[in-house]
């Protein structure tokens, strides 16, 4: 039993961005846990001021490499909300497909490269032996699934990272029939592979149950945007109202600040979405994932991995449906007239709700903006869970406790690149 213990995890690996963890135990009690997001601030909410509304989304995409499509589309959404701009049905489909490409690629990155090694007892996917059939299968599937998401984004959005095609009022380039046929075949080819990783995360024995409020967007379907923000306590809020229910929590040692919802901790992300909205998954996903979905709603944070894997199937299924039933045509962007206005948007980024508010002047120049990213919203839970894990394992050796902390943080799938963009803080 540790009476005194100091743990320092410098630059946690197999996550997005940089984070350090400090834990201090004295007299058998955790004195403090500090989750220090060490990603240097890049001040995007300052930088957006003075930019035109048409240039702002591409700038904000640079907040994060892996979630860039979510930032791009959320910023576009906030601008369009401000300008009361309606986009075409085809544009909405192209945006959904852009998001799904990101979901497939980003979830696959997390599931196979970051989280699966913990399940397999490996340090890295690189350690798998391609000459052993069962390990070769993991390698083949990891890169095939991830690659399918990457190519869907390339085809629809122009690139998986900082995509050039989605713009305010519409879309710049449209997929042709032969390319659509190609990606359809690829999505159908990789779909069965995802069930292997679903099985792995269902059968995995990692358990960390905790009570918390889950919050996700609840729309007409299991969609990454559109609809109200719903909490497991039953509140339905518009994106504009949502921010008003968040309270900033300054974490002095971290380059990101946290949030509480109505004064309480909460969680966003795949686990929240599946807990709250699994009944709205694509019918094919519901049919083929029925046995896995019996595990939800779940309080086990490790089921965030399982939820991501199920969402990957949903993203594939809905993409297939959209691609099979849409004949893409050339169309112009909705006409835009600048005026002084303010708008908000919320989208479900892979890691949870992403919120944007923009305000612009009569010339369409942004003069104020707010961005809330998922990892900031999960930050308080992550810290509290580390404390709990350490206290529950004080009889174990330091390496074991450290590994448990790392494993749990990975299950949250934090994105530190996103978290350390700048928000205006009122220091008191």
């Amino acid at each position: 039993m540790h009476s005194e213990l100091d743990i320092r995890i410098e630059q946690l690996t197999k996550i997005e961005g940089h984070v350090n963890v400090d834990v201090k135990v004295r007299a058998g009690k955790v004195e403090y846990v500090r989750l220090k997001i060490s990603e240097n601030k890049r001040f995007y909410t300052q930088a957006i001021r003075g930019r035109s509304f048409s240039a702002a989304p591409q700038l904000m995409s640079r907040i994060c490499g892996t979630c860039s499509i979510a930032h791009l589309l959320c910023c576009i959404g906030a601008v369009e909300d401000a300008l009361k701009l309606e986009v075409s049905a085809q544009t909405k489909i192209l945006r959904l497909l852009s998001m799904y490409g990101m979901y497939i690629r980003d979830h696959a990155l997390h599931l196979y490269l970051f989280a699966l090694p913990d399940v397999l007892g490996k340090d890295s996917l690189l350690e798998l032996d391609e000459n052993k059939p069962e390990e070769r299968q993991w390698l083949d599937e990891a890169f095939a699934v991830k690659g399918a998401g990457n190519r869907l984004s390339q085809l629809i959005a122009g690139r998986a990272v900082h995509s050039p095609f989605p713009v305010v009022g519409g879309h710049l380039k449209f997929p042709d029939e032969s390319s659509v046929a190609g990606i359809l075949a690829e999505l159908k080819r990789v779909r069965p592979m995802v069930f292997h990783v679903i099985d792995a995360f269902r059968d995995c024995l990692f358990v960390y149950d905790r009570k918390t409020d889950f919050i996700a967007i609840d729309g007409e379907g299991f969609l990454p945007f559109g609809g109200e923000v719903k909490s497991s306590r039953g509140r339905g809020l518009s994106s504009r109202q949502y921010f008003q229910h968040l309270e900033k929590v300054v974490i002095p040692y971290s380059q990101a600040m946290g949030y509480s919802f109505e004064g309480k901790d909460y969680m966003v992300g795949s686990l929240a979405r599946i807990n709250l909205n699994s009944g709205k998954l694509h019918p094919s996903t519901l049919r083929d994932c029925a046995s896995y979905l019996k595990l939800f709603p779940s309080k086990n944070i490790y089921h965030n991995n399982l939820a991501q894997a199920i969402e990957t199937v949903h993203a594939i299924d809905h993409s297939i449906e959209l691609l099979e039933n849409t004949k893409f045509v050339q169309e112009s962007r909705a006409p835009v007239a600048a005026r002084a206005c303010e708008g908000t948007a919320a989208v479900e980024a892979p890691r949870g709700i992403l919120y944007y508010r923009v305000r612009m002047d009569e010339k369409g120049v942004i003069d104020d903006a707010t961005v809330v990213v998922p990892t900031q919203q999960n930050q308080i839970n992550m810290e509290r869970d580390i404390k709990d894990i350490v206290e529950s394992n004080l009889s174990m050796d330091k390496d074991f406790i450290t590994a448990e902390i790392e494993k749990l943080l990975r299950a949250y799938d934090p994105c530190m690149s996103c978290a350390s963009h700048f928000l205006r803080i009122n220091w008191v």
Partner: protein, 161 residues
Amino acid sequence: MQKKLRVGWFSFSCCEDSTILFVELMNERFLDWKRLIDFRHARVLQGRNFDDYLDVAFVEGAIATERDADELVRIRSRSKRLVAIGACACEGMPSGQRNEFDEEKKREIQFLVDRFRLCERVRKVSDIVVVDSLVPGCPMVEQAFLDVLDKYLMEFGVVHA
């Protein structure tokens, strides 16, 4: 025994967009790279990383703190070649956008610059160390990266023309 290129992949202040593309390039090349490359340091790929000598260090991101500058110097000192990856490493932007802020914005952020001991100016990699190759782009131009990698695989005798 196949000789391998000893490689490190490092990220400083940036959105890690090029890291994402690097990992996506693996989709079609994983087995080849595993045969040809010894990843001594790549946080995105593995938990166990080594601070030993490298044939090639790939460095993404701009340099925003003295601590990062010191780390970059250490990476350079143990690397035979160093490649700046992406716009933030090559040009310092967009991560260095605060360098161009007007006085009002600079005043707003100064307390955070002080609090987190950020440098007054964000710098590109070549402001601090000698850079052997540049892979520009935001995100990096994939073919440019592959060309640089091929060049060093040849130079270090891992593959032959």
